[in-house]
Amino acid sequence: MALLSKKDSRLILDPLADNNPITIQVLGICSALAITAELKASIVMALSVVFVLGLGNVVISLMRNIIPSKIRIIVQLVVVATLVIIVDQVLKAFAYELSKTLSVFIGLIITNCIIMGRFEAFALANGPWKSFLDGIGNSAGYGLILVIIGFFRELLGSGTLLGIKVLGDPIEKTGLYAIGYENNGFMLLSPMALIVVGIIIWVQRSRNKALIEEN
């Protein structure tokens, strides 16, 4: 017997590819541009969003029948703000340097469109198990793109991966740098992150023609 029913596994797998929150719904772009200059920051950001959205979806789903619909946005904000503060405090306690790199962007998870979007579109209408899977799926789809962008930006922009000098030392001229290679400073700037997102969307849509809109 499979661990998840077919319908449930779609909840997780769809947002990873054909219904990706960043490349298809074009949500959550701001943080994808802001904190992806390093792979490590991307991974931490991705994990934070997995935590916030996974848990937040469950909480909202459990409360869905008692939240008055007129004030539901406020309730959602309280839930997401609580979870974000937990993440922020944990990072400050155990990974202070990293939390300084991410600066306000952890706090800005509150305004990440994906989170409010999933609360509104899914958690308010589905049970907790389904909502949990949906939250994990969507935040994983978001995180996947973040990690891809972070990988290319750090590799081409700084010549490192997770801080390890994989292409050689640019100052002592070893590895690739010995033959004249240089880091691409443009990769560290946000406009290039937008172009990388664009290229990912391009690659995805040319592999799956069904995603191309008619116009």
Partner: protein, 422 residues
């Protein structure tokens, strides 16, 4: 069998196959094809896209040849200067010489070749994938690119930038004629942001200055704008005629204002480029220069200010130094990315000149802003056109309304309307 019929046969053989566009491009690049149009209305004209592009390239050839000589001249002048000998430029004395030509050709021609080969390979690949004919747009871009980069730009950087510029600047929008940004300037901007150390400073404008840096025979050559931005304007030994004829350090093809001016006149005469854009861009640069000159004369800017050097630079000299003249004549007038309406061209050009000089003065990292100004106005060109067209539509609607009122016989109102719409 002649080459022409060979090519024609090759094309016939590949008709309908995947590689057909590549062979078609080779055939029509060299010869007029045998086919004639069979149906539908069509215009016979000589100024097709290929002819237009070739005219611009003809206007660029003198600049390229001057750039080759200047590359050699600047190298030997910097070597002399390092030995304490200050050179006085003279055209036939020490400028047009074999050693200058050989040194220049050895450094400039690889840039041209890399630019064309990489760019055309990308164009061919896209033509084959998309199944359309290879477009001629890259012919001019490929010639502009080597002229707007510093002489010692590493070839692999140029290749990376060309791939980026052609794919992201042009092909993703749908190819030649559909691009928003000028591809050559996109390539320049990519190089500038990606590899800033190779694009500015006093080492990159003279051949071999980077390799020799720090050694006993170190040479350098700062651009005029570079001197001014650092407040070292008095150390410069360049006369106004040096600036006008182009015996100064700078990107490969941008130095000779005289040849650019002749190229510009040639483009205006052949009706390829818009004189409105050129005139208004010059006017914009002069106005901004005058504003800065006025500000320094009124004493608003202290002499110790880091902006003083560039702000007090006489306004008309801005046209002679840096890439402003080159940008105005060859880049701002790009018919694809510029404004299309006559009124729009005046506004578009004016702001290019105006913003170029403004960025020159206020950009702390890099004392030149022509390419940034043109890219910025490229983005605004459709907006300018939109409002020019709307204004015209509104004017004509009002005129229509006035004539209706007149015919309707409401005398008082008709007079009133007529007065304001004449």
């Amino acid at each position: 069998m002649s080459l022409k019929s060979n090519l024609h046969n090759l094309k016939e053989r590949y008709k309908g196959k995947k590689m057909a566009p590549a062979f078609n491009a080779l055939h029509t690049f060299l010869y007029t094809p045998n086919e004639t149009t069979h149906s539908g209305g069509h215009v016979r004209a000589v100024d097709d896209l290929k002819r237009t592009m070739n005219t611009v390239i003809m206007a660029l050839v003198p600049v390229l040849i001057f750039g080759i000589f200047n590359a050699g001249y600047q190298h030997y002048a910097a070597v002399d200067a390092a030995n304490g000998v200050i050179r006085q430029a003279s055209l036939f004395g020490n400028f047009i010489t074999w050693e200058n030509f050989l040194m220049g050709a050895w450094t400039v021609l690889p840039l041209v070749i890399v630019s064309y080969v990489v760019g055309l390979v990308v164009e061919f690949i896209f033509a084959v994938i998309k199944g359309h004919e290879v477009e001629e747009g890259y012919l001019v871009t490929g010639m502009l690119v080597p002229l707007i980069v510093p002489i010692d730009t590493p070839l692999w950087m140029l290749a990376v930038a060309v791939v980026f510029g052609v794919v992201i600047g042009k092909e993703v929008f749908g190819g030649t004629g559909m691009n928003i940004l000028n591809p050559a300037l996109t390539i320049r901007a990519f190089l500038f942001f990606a590899y800033p150390t190779w694009m500015s400073g006093d080492k990159v404008w003279v051949h071999q200055a980077v390799e020799k840096a720090g050694g006993p025979d170190a040479i350098s050559g700062e651009t005029i704008l570079g001197f001014l931005a650092q407040g070292r304007g008095s150390e410069m030994s360049y006369s106004i005629s040096d600036m006008f004829f182009g015996f100064i350090p700078g990107s490969v093809g941008e130095t000779s204002t005289l040849l650019i001016l002749l190229g510009g006149l040639f483009l205006i005469f052949t009706k390829i480029a818009s004189w409105r854009i050129m005139v208004s861009a010059v006017a914009g640069a002069l106005v901004m220069g005058l504003i800065f000159n006025g500000a320094t004369e009124l004493g608003w800017i202290a002499e110790t200010s880091k902006f003083y050097g560039l702000m007090s630079f006489e306004f008309w000299k801005h046209l002679l130094v840096g890439g402003l003249a080159f940008g105005i004549v060859y880049m701002a007038t790009d018919p694809v990315t510029g404004s299309q309406t006559d009124k729009g061209k005046w506004i578009y050009g004016f702001f290019i000149g105006f913003i170029s000089v403004m960025i020159r003065v206020f950009n702390p990292a890099y004392p030149e802003g022509v390419f940034l100004a043109i890219l910025l106005m490229n983005v605004f060109a459709p907006t300018i056109d939109h409002y020019v067209v709307r204004a015209n539509v509104n004017k004509r609607m009002k005129r229509l309304q006035a004539s209706k009122d007149l015919a309707g016989g409401a005398h008082g109102k008709a007079k009133e309307l007529k007065a304001e719409t004449v």
